[in-house]
């Protein structure tokens, strides 16, 4: 994982997602995010301000301080990378069913 992070663009696909819901990435949205991510076989990583964590681990995600208006880069590497990114983008855009 660490090795791949050096050549980000080469390691599968990635997408920048901006947090839209007011309360940001707190526990409930984070649980929804990792649940969605875990449904795919691809490795999912989240990067923000130079820190990279697994998109399938709740504790990692919670430390990213993803407040409303901040942007994270989501990487997917694997056979269903594109589908995974689309699902995660839809989820973030849906504001996790919050305001």
């Amino acid at each position: 994982m660490k090795a791949k992070s050096h050549d980000k663009e080469a390691a599968g696909a990635c997408r920048d997602l901006t947090i839209l819901n007011k309360h940001g990435m707190h526990a409930r949205p984070a649980a929804m995010f990792i649940k969605t991510a875990s449904a795919f076989d691809s490795d999912i990583m989240i990067e923000k301000e130079g820190t990279k964590v697994s998109g399938k681990s709740i504790m990692g995600l919670l430390t990213m301080e993803l407040y409303q208006g901040s942007t994270m880069r989501v990487y997917a590497d694997g056979p269903d990378a594109e589908a995974a990114l689309q699902a995660l983008e839809d989820l973030v855009k849906s504001k996790f069913d919050e305001e």
Binding site: K22, H23, G24, M25, H26, A27, R28, A30, A31, I34, K35, S38, A39, I58, L62, E65, L66, Y67, Q68, G69, S70
Partner: protein
Amino acid sequence: MALTVAEFLEEARDPFELEVVCGEDHLGRIVKEPAFNRPGLALTGFFQYFANLRIQVMGLAELTYLKHLGDDATRTERLAALMRQRVPCVVLTRNRHVPPELLAQAEAHRVPVLKTPLITNRFINRATLLIEDLAAPRQKYQGTMLEIKGMGVLVEGQPGIGKSEIALALIERGHSLISDDLTVLRRDHFGAVVGYADELTRYHMEIRGLGIIHVPSLFGVASMRREKRVDLVVRLEPFDQHADYDRTGMCSETIEILGADIPLVTIPVGAGRDIAHVVEVAALNQKLKQLGHDAAKELDERLMRALERKRRK
């Protein structure tokens, strides 16, 4: 669930030194209301709101009143009126002499009469607790029950998922077993659900490959407990990659047992997971919640405050 006088007597005979004075053949009568009544007013002839479905307890006051009624005819008439109300049975306290009219009327109306050396108040207090337990709603439940650091935990899951092995591991860690595989549950008079083992199989468990073992012989008396309130139900499920497991601990699920809602935790059993340890932590976490400290909720609140500060910057 109909409780008979005989069933009450069976449990109450020793603790209350109860004796059957008459009506041995009528012990099958049903106690429709599992409670006790002192029939003082009924003996005066006042039957409005008379609690005739309860066991009637006659103490010093009732017997003295009967004695002061004067002639035998009045006594007989009053006692006949009482017995006609189809009371389940009569208990005389303080081992007092039984008036012959009472015996005659009880026999005529096929009402059993019991007596105890206890004083009335003490008998009623203790016997109320006993009879409420006897009449409490109960059911058999497929699950192994343990006491983990003061918490009653009922572990359920399909056969072969490892309930008994988990129980064994928890016993080795110093917790106690209440029942293996089948637990009898009863709703007590405070509304709590209490689990205990069936009389026949109590203190035993079955371990695949070993057969039946006697737990206190192997692990000492501290490894067993007679009964415990159910604080938590742990459901074990085969690990399913696509199943929806709670990842935050913030969805508080419950399961309804005997009309009570009991917290439920579902644990996926995957290869290499030390489930006994996870069950132990689940019990402790539930204990923390009972003390008013919900770790997941508190972390979330802290998180939301931090995100809010960042957002406003």
